[in-house]
């Protein structure tokens, strides 16, 4: 009895398809390692710990951040909160978060009516492309929130 072995030629297209799928799998796993710094959920938790169950409102916050930061080690950050800054109505504190840094907290700034303007410029580190979130707490208890995305070319948290 003669066994007939059928050999189908492997087409170039088949090889490309297989290689493509394999490459996609490798990229997908390397892009999303399980413990890659802080997840956005951590930021939500941090914001919640700060403001409790208060509702956040949009507006009154102007964030000054570059759209693209070449060096994540020193990213110029500026913000201004619209407020009369009078004795009865002023910005109490402003907290800044970065949702994909190893620690999402960046800084908290405490203002007083003597600050006159709730405006800051400083420099921050960004590990990778991510959102920067600014949460402002007013003296009357209201909370405002704004965010801005920064694309980072070279990350700035060491390795």
């Amino acid at each position: 009895m003669v066994r007939k072995i059928e050999m189908k030629p492997v087409s170039r297209r088949d090889i490309l398809g297989f290689a493509g799928a394999a490459a996609f799998a490798v990229v997908a796993t390397s892009l999303y390692p399980k413990a890659a710094g802080a997840a956005p959920a951590d930021v939500d938790a941090a914001v919640k710990a700060l403001i409790g169950s208060s509702e956040t409102m949009a507006g009154r916050i102007t964030i000054e951040l570059p759209q693209i930061a070449e060096n994540g080690n020193t990213v110029p950050l500026g913000f201004e909160i619209e407020s009369p800054m009078s004795d009865s109505d002023y910005v109490k504190s402003v907290s800044v978060f970065a949702d994909k840094n190893p620690f999402p907290d960046v800084a908290t700034f405490h203002f007083t009516p003597a600050s006159a303007r709730a405006k800051i410029s400083t420099r921050m580190r960004l590990a990778k492309t991510q959102n920067v979130i600014v949460v402002a707490q007013m003296s009357d208890g209201s909370v405002y929130m704004a965010k801005s995305e920064v694309k980072v070319t070279i990350g700035g948290c060491g390795g």
Partner: protein
Amino acid sequence: MAKAKARVKAPKTVAKGEVFQVKTLISHKMETGQRKDKAGEKIPRMIINSFVCKYNGEQVFACDWHPSISANPYTAFYLKASKSGTLDFIWTDDEGSVFEKSADITVT
């Protein structure tokens, strides 16, 4: 005790009620605690975690810093001129080292 050089820029004279900008800069490496040395050991965290500005002894501005603040932290903020006196700037780091700087201000 770590060494740090602080620089402050504030106007010497301001009109009463005027809002003026204060710029502060302090040299500090702000070690994040994330970096590793050549042997692969983590370099311990060592940052300035608090900055306070006092106007005639009264706290008018403060910040809490986390490792995401850049090395040699720079901060510019605003104050309103009320009366002549001193501005005191106080930075505190993780080791408890305190760095101080003050500036005189004349309000006309």
